[in-house]
């Protein structure tokens, strides 16, 4: 991994990180926004999954409020997973990814830009929908805000960790299912702290520790995941 990163021209690496992130972000956003229907389908999937749970359990308000945060989080995990397999697939298929890896721009920065675009198109809408859906689950106002805040901090981690899995499973048979098997166990801490923050508030405690831990996880993932994902991309291109 170290060797391949060093092979980029040293002088250009210094200044090119942010432009590389911005370029990849703008490019992927533009491509995603061209197929708005696809984005809509992902969101619809999220809403439908969330809607299924009361039908499968009970419409009773106190029980719904108890399971609501967990249901919204699990649905967020699944919705994030659903779109992950497409994170690198199109660029891999037409050779763009190879050109990115060959370019003098640092690959972790390009990968970061793509992951950021993934979050903006799938994670952020989930966050914005959360207040509406928590009303369906009879959540109190402060529980609703904590849930939204936790999703705001937590969903970028889903995209970052998922980026590693998406790169590892590039072009494999059964890639989508394999991706789920690889990534979902890694999502466990985010699920626990994310849903736990709301449970804490509902139990009368502060959500601070949970949100702080989520924030710490976000920082670690921000620093580490792009490098791991870039390494995985290079493995896939070998």
């Amino acid at each position: 991994m170290a060797a391949s990163i060093e092979s980029a021209p040293a002088a250009s690496v210094q200044g090119a990180v942010l432009p590389a992130v911005a370029w990849a972000l703008a490019r992927d956003l533009k491509i995603s926004l061209r197929s708005k229907a696809e984005l809509g389908i992902q969101l619809l999937f999220y809403v439908i999954v969330v809607t299924l749970f009361p039908l499968a359990t009970t419409p009773e308000r106190s029980l719904l409020a108890a399971i609501g945060p967990g249901v919204l989080w699990v649905a967020a995990l699944l919705a994030s997973l659903l779109s992950l397999s497409r994170l690198f697939a199109a660029d891999h298929a037409d050779g763009t990814l190879e050109q990115m890896a060959l370019s003098p721009w640092p690959l972790p920065a390009l990968v970061s830009g793509k992951i950021a675009a993934h979050w903006l198109t799938t994670g952020l809408p989930i966050v914005l929908l959360a207040p509406l859906l928590s009303a369906q689950y009879a959540l109190e106002r402060d529980a609703m805000w904590i849930l939204t805040a936790a999703l705001l901090i937590g969903t970028p981690i889903l995209s970052l960790l998922g980026g590693i899995g998406a790169a590892l499973t590039l072009g494999l048979r059964g890639g989508g299912t394999l991706l789920a098997l690889l990534v979902l166990p890694l999502y466990v801490p985010i699920l626990i702290f994310g849903a736990g923050s709301v449970d804490a508030v509902r139990a009368g405690f502060s959500a601070g520790p949970h949100l702080s831990l989520l924030g710490a996880g976000l920082l670690v993932a921000l620093v580490g995941a792009p490098f791991a994902a870039a390494a995985a991309v290079r493995v896939a291109l070998d």
Partner: protein, 249 residues
């Protein structure tokens, strides 16, 4: 000094050594397991609180320790495989994964059968059990990724990256599950609150732990030999081996 270390990084030089070491570890594992099981099942007294059900810990605890330790060893070999680009390191990681998964499964399975008479339930969302279950998923993920990739060198690197990402996550998963569990107030009985064990039980547990080590090492060595033969089948050194010659003739 460094040259000596890298000498054994070649599959060709490691293959015969592994073949010589494996029977010793296997024999040691069998002998230790026999003595350990005899002490554990026959000599050790029946527990005052748990009855004879406690005897399952002589299998359960070594398997649980081994399941976590093997993941660390796998992460170590994966880091070497990525850092030095050595094939044998990745093969070692590959050889360890099924044993690690087996140990995790044994730990969960025996734990369930210990839990039924002792806690009154096969499964509780106890912190240790939950994180052990997730560890099993991590092992299965690594094995599935290996099976999903046809090119062995790509599989080596991809599995190494995944193992290392998982290794960073293992402590986080453990603590997150622990805190989640304390918030939810799960099982009322915990393993840590168990009464202190008698010396004879500790002896049996120690013997069984060593037996598990011997078994894991022996099986990993035998499996890594099979992986070497499979992957190096085109190499000329392999065709000179007596066991391969016998097959060809």
């Amino acid at each position: 000094m460094a040259a000596h270390w890298f000498l054994y990084a070649s599959p060709a030089s490691f293959y015969p050594i592994a073949g010589r070491m494996a029977p010793w570890f296997a024999a040691a594992a069998a002998a230790l397991a026999l003595v350990g099981l005899w002490i554990g099942l026959v000599v050790a007294p029946t527990d005052a609180q748990q009855g004879d059900a406690y005897r399952i810990i002589f299998i359960h605890v070594p398997a649980a320790w081994m399941s976590m330790f093997i993941y660390l060893v796998m992460a170590f070999w994966s880091a070497l495989a990525l850092g030095y680009n050595t094939r044998l390191s990745a093969m070692m990681a590959q050889a360890l994964a099924p044993t690690g998964a087996l140990m995790t499964f044994i730990a969960l399975w025996t734990g369930a059968f210990w839990g039924r008479p002792t806690w009154g339930t096969y499964w509780a969302w106890d912190a240790r059990m939950t994180s052990e279950l997730i560890l099993l998923f991590l092992y299965l993920g690594v094995i599935a990724l290996r099976n999903g990739i046809d090119d062995p060198r790509r599989a080596d690197k991809a599995c190494s990256v995944l193992t290392l990402v998982g290794a960073v996550n293992v402590p986080i998963i453990y603590f997150s599950v622990k805190w989640w569990n304390t918030l939810h107030q799960g099982s009322t009985i915990s393993m840590t609150a168990a009464p202190k064990m008698a010396a004879i039980m500790v002896t049996a547990l120690g013997l069984m732990t060593l037996a598990t080590w011997g078994y894991a090492i022996a099986v990993a060595l035998i499996r890594v030999r099979a992986i070497i033969v499979e992957r190096e089948r085109g190499a000329s050194w392999l065709s000179h081996l007596p066991e391969v010659r016998r097959l060809v003739v």
